[in-house]
């Protein structure tokens, strides 16, 4: 009698515990509860029940299934192809994989703004300088929205390395960057796959000067020499991405890739002049000059130095308002907090985060002079001068929180980061003319721009109008060039059409290096992608040489590290295979046994059906 009462009590306790300790696994609880109640009632001794409890209260590890977020072929043909190849490799390694395609802006919104993804495949805008890695990977940015740490990657040692390469210059910096890249090769916060080679088609009969500036940068569109009487009236570009016709906000992350068109509308203090071969140098632009004062100012600590910037005289915005040092100081304050202090927490812009973070303080000392207090070495601080200068009178009111009646908008969403910004008011060499969504955006020469002054020796806008026509496919873009309906393709051509292009006397294929790269990004906020061993194993499932041949038709370079060529340390240079994490297999085919061994050596387990089981 007493036995059965005790048995029932224990059963009830077991049920309570079973339902209380785990809110997640639905069928686990019911199975356990059922077992406990039926078996428990008939079990005589409490010791037996305890053992039973020890057995049934252990959760099983589920097979891993993940989703690769990427772009459809209309958005980026190479990305979806890479995603499919990677999905096949993951499937071979026993990971259930599906692919989700999202349009350009929705893809970036998922990855950069909402961090709502497992892994993604896409193109990173990269940078001519390796300092872009600071904003891409510093753990302080893991919860911010934008290009700053979309991976949620957090590693204190890497943070240190990211910071130390910022503090020094010259040879010391090169060494610091090398240490950083070595650490990243081990950590694999994302898997760098390859750097594309950029191809564009241009017509030589109407303009000359295509070989001077890289066409992904503003100077590529300036200084072109019209070859016929009529050609100075209009430069006709074909763009394969409709987003510039929909949104011209220079600080929006979802609608910008490298922001080339926005750079024609907005000036920056300095500009990275990149030539067609990729050689680049930072040169004064809106700033006439800048001078470094070594840290003898008493207000500065020993880590800080200051930079005095002198603006060119009499610059104006497209609406006629003068551009003063106050606008510049405003821009840096605004990019650091687009709410201008009006929000509970700062709302930094989703672009230029790393550049702005290099500036501790900025002060306009008169109409044309600014005093920057910088927290980094000179090389990195000078790059902070490349952000677009915004007119204070237009953007101040955009510090307000965006609102939709009846809807709770995400914290830190200011009007500034979501506005379409049409018409854009900048101070750049071109001003906004007209647009039709998904058809064209037309810019007009800004006559008052400083580049058109006689005493300024910089390339200027040489055409009355720049019409950027939207045409979503390479094949029809090529036809427009061949029919003399366009002068250049401002986007890069898709690789599969390049072999078929027939160059003529007037039509020429331009080849230029890129500082962007294709990569597989992990969302380290989710298990098991936060585990560097897991990431290393996945990196070894990608045959980078093979995908370059297969997906890119050879028009790309496989990479082991994500920086521009000149910064790649010798030990991380591509030597026919990945120097650190070589592919487990050959010719694109994963060696299933080797992959399995690698995952097992990394502490993961397989079930009898060959599925990778991972706690997630």
């Amino acid at each position: 009698m007493s036995d059965s009462v005790a048995g029932r009590t224990t059963t009830e306790a077991a049920e309570r515990e079973a339902s209380g300790d785990d809110g997640g696994g639905g069928n686990g609880i019911s199975r356990r509860a059922a077992l406990a109640s039926t078996v428990g009632l008939t079990t005589a001794t409490s010791g037996c029940v305890r053992q039973l409890r020890s057995i049934v209260n252990r959760d099983d590890i589920d097979p891993l299934s993940l989703t690769i977020t990427t772009l459809p072929a209309d958005g980026d043909r190479e990305s979806i192809r890479l995603a499919r190849e990677i999905a096949a490799a993951l499937e071979a390694a026993g990971i259930d994989t599906s692919i989700e395609m999202r349009s350009n802006e929705e893809f970036l919104r998922s990855v950069l703004i909402n961090h709502d993804y497992d892994v993604y495949v896409g193109q990173h805008p990269g940078g001519t300088d390796p300092d872009f890695l600071y904003e891409a990977l510093h753990s302080l940015y893991a919860d911010e929205r934008g290009w700053q740490n979309p991976f949620g990657f957090t590693n204190l040692l890497v943070d240190d390395l990211l910071e130390s390469q910022r503090d020094v210059d010259g040879e010391q910096r090169r060494e610091a960057v090398t240490s950083l890249l070595e650490a990243l090769t081990v950590e694999q916060p994302f898997v760098p796959i390859c750097t594309p080679i950029e191809h564009r088609l241009v017509r030589d009969d109407r303009f000359d000067g295509w070989d001077d500036g890289h066409l992904a940068t503003r100077t590529g569109y300036l200084g072109l020499e019209p070859q016929t009487d009529g050609s100075g009236e209009q430069l006709r570009a074909v763009h394969m991405d409709a987003r510039p016709s929909q949104n011209l906000n220079p600080i929006n992350a979802e609608y910008r890739d490298r922001g080339t068109i926005a750079d024609l509308l907005y000036d920056s203090l300095a500009t990275d002049v990149v030539d067609i071969d990729g050689a680049h140098e930072l040169e004064p632009w809106l700033a006439e000059d800048w001078v470094w004062d070594e840290g003898d100012d008493e207000a500065e600590t020993e880590d800080q130095s200051s930079l005095t910037v002198e603006l060119r005289p009499d610059c104006r915005f497209h609406d006629g308002e003068p551009l003063t040092a106050d606008d510049v100081a405003f821009t840096y304050r605004f990019l650091a907090d687009t709410a201008l202090g009006g929000s509970a927490t700062p709302a930094p812009a989703p672009r230029y985060r790393g550049q702005v973070a290099a500036i501790d303080d900025v002060e306009a000392t008169d109409d044309r002079t600014l005093e920057f207090t910088v927290a980094t070495g000179e090389e990195v601080a000078a790059r902070a001068l490349t952000v677009p200068i915004l007119p204070e009178h237009v953007w101040t009111e955009r510090a307000a929180a965006a609102s939709v009646p009846g809807y709770r908008v995400a914290q830190g969403t200011t009007d500034a980061v979501v506005t379409d910004n049409v018409p854009p008011i900048g101070s750049g060499p071109f001003q906004f003319g007209d647009r039709t969504e998904r058809e064209h955006v037309t810019l007009e020469r800004f006559e008052d721009h400083f580049t058109s002054r006689d005493d300024v020796d910089l390339p200027e806008a040489t055409v009355e109008e720049l019409r950027v026509q939207i045409d979503p496919r390479s094949t029809s873009a090529i036809q427009l060039i061949e029919d003399d309906s366009a002068d250049l393709t401002s986007s890069t051509l898709e690789n599969y059409v390049i072999a078929d292009i027939e160059e003529t006397e007037d039509v020429r294929l331009l080849e230029s290096p890129s500082w962007t790269f294709y990569h597989l990004g992990f969302n380290a906020r989710k298990a098991p992608f936060g585990n560097p061993r897991f990431r290393q194993c996945v990196a070894q499932l990608i045959d980078k040489s093979w995908v370059v041949d297969e997906v890119f038709h050879g028009h790309a370079d496989p990479i082991a590290t994500p920086v521009a060529g000149e910064w790649v340390p010798e030990e991380l240079a591509w030597d026919g295979a990945d120097p650190e994490l070589p592919f487990l297999g050959s010719d694109g085919d994963v060696d299933v046994d080797a992959a399995r061994t690698a995952f097992e050596a990394a502490g993961f387990r397989y079930d009898g059906d060959g599925n990778l089981r991972v706690r997630h």
Binding site: A73, D74, R84, E100, T475, S476
Partner: protein
């Protein structure tokens, strides 16, 4: 570019319609039409206006539908691919240049002809019911199609497997891209509106097979060709095409129920006697 493609389309389709009218409609029906066209237009006017309104709304809504769809965010591409696998690949493996040319022609010219010619053919009949059913079915296709497009995001095979599924139309004839992107968005593939409208015509042609027996055969052939062309060219999945046929069936059945249920002219006669009297005196 767009103007040139449009002009070419207009000329070719007009020629096809003229020839078909001569072949299928015949002299006698045209003679009657010359006498009766006023009353026929009056009978078909309400539904024609409804169709025009839906088309107009459609062209405006197309600008905002993708925004709404991404807010709802129901992405169907992966489930569709999971279910049907790689049928499209098999279909494309049958490709030859001649077949590609045929289906490209069907997708653009055959389709437009298939949609316009029955309007002419049914207008030439004294009984306006087929014409009204046709226009009602078109209206329903567009209205229901737009609703589905709003809720479902799905990319076609060419977007998912660009290496395996060649975008035959756009790579072989890039100029058509300019035409189709005026009408289609790449996330709107479920259902195939090409298939549903073509199937609608085929279904109605079957209903009027006693009047136009040869047209029934031609419409069936063209309808099947259009459905296959959408898959062959890598634009639609099989599931989109099947959904298109279901949509066509629903639209035709609904049109059968709806047409003749309400009469605008009777309503006018009852409510606006002066107008009715005016019209009678006019006849």
């Amino acid at each position: 570019m767009l103007v040139r493609v449009l002009l070419q389309l207009t000329v070719v389709v007009t020629l096809m319609i003229l020839i078909s009218t001569a072949l299928f409609v015949g002299r006698y029906r045209l003679r009657d039409t010359r006498v009766e066209w006023r009353s026929r237009i009056r009978a078909a006017a309400p539904i024609t206006i409804a169709l025009a309104v839906v088309l107009l709304f459609n062209s405006v809504a197309r600008q905002i539908v993708p925004d709404l769809s991404w807010m709802i965010d129901w992405n169907f591409t992966e489930p569709i691919y999971d279910i049907e696998g790689e049928f499209i690949l098999w279909l494309q493996s049958q490709a030859t240049p001649a077949v590609t040319a045929y289906f490209s022609f069907i997708y653009i010219y055959g389709y437009v002809f298939l949609l316009i010619f029955p309007v002419v053919a049914y207008f030439a009949l004294s009984n306006t019911r087929p014409l009204r059913e046709l226009l009602t079915a078109y209206t329903l296709n567009y209205a229901l199609g737009l609703l589905l497009y709003t809720f479902v995001i799905a990319y076609g095979p060419r977007n998912m497997m660009p290496d395996l599924v060649e975008a035959l139309l756009y790579d072989t004839y890039p100029q058509y891209q300019h035409l189709t992107r005026q009408v289609n968005r790449n996330t709107n593939v479920f259902p195939s509106l090409h298939t549903s409208l073509a199937a609608t015509v085929s279904f109605l042609a079957y209903r009027t097979r006693e009047i136009y027996p040869t047209w029934n055969l031609l419409a069936a052939g063209l309808g099947v060709s259009v459905a296959i062309s959408t898959m062959y060219l890598g634009i639609h999945w099989v599931i989109d095409v099947l959904a298109g046929i279901v949509l066509a069936y629903i639209s035709v059945e609904l049109a059968g129920v709806l047409v003749g249920r309400w009469s605008l002219s009777e309503w006018l006669d009852g409510h606006v006697p002066s107008l009715g009297a005016f019209r009678d005196s006019n006849e």
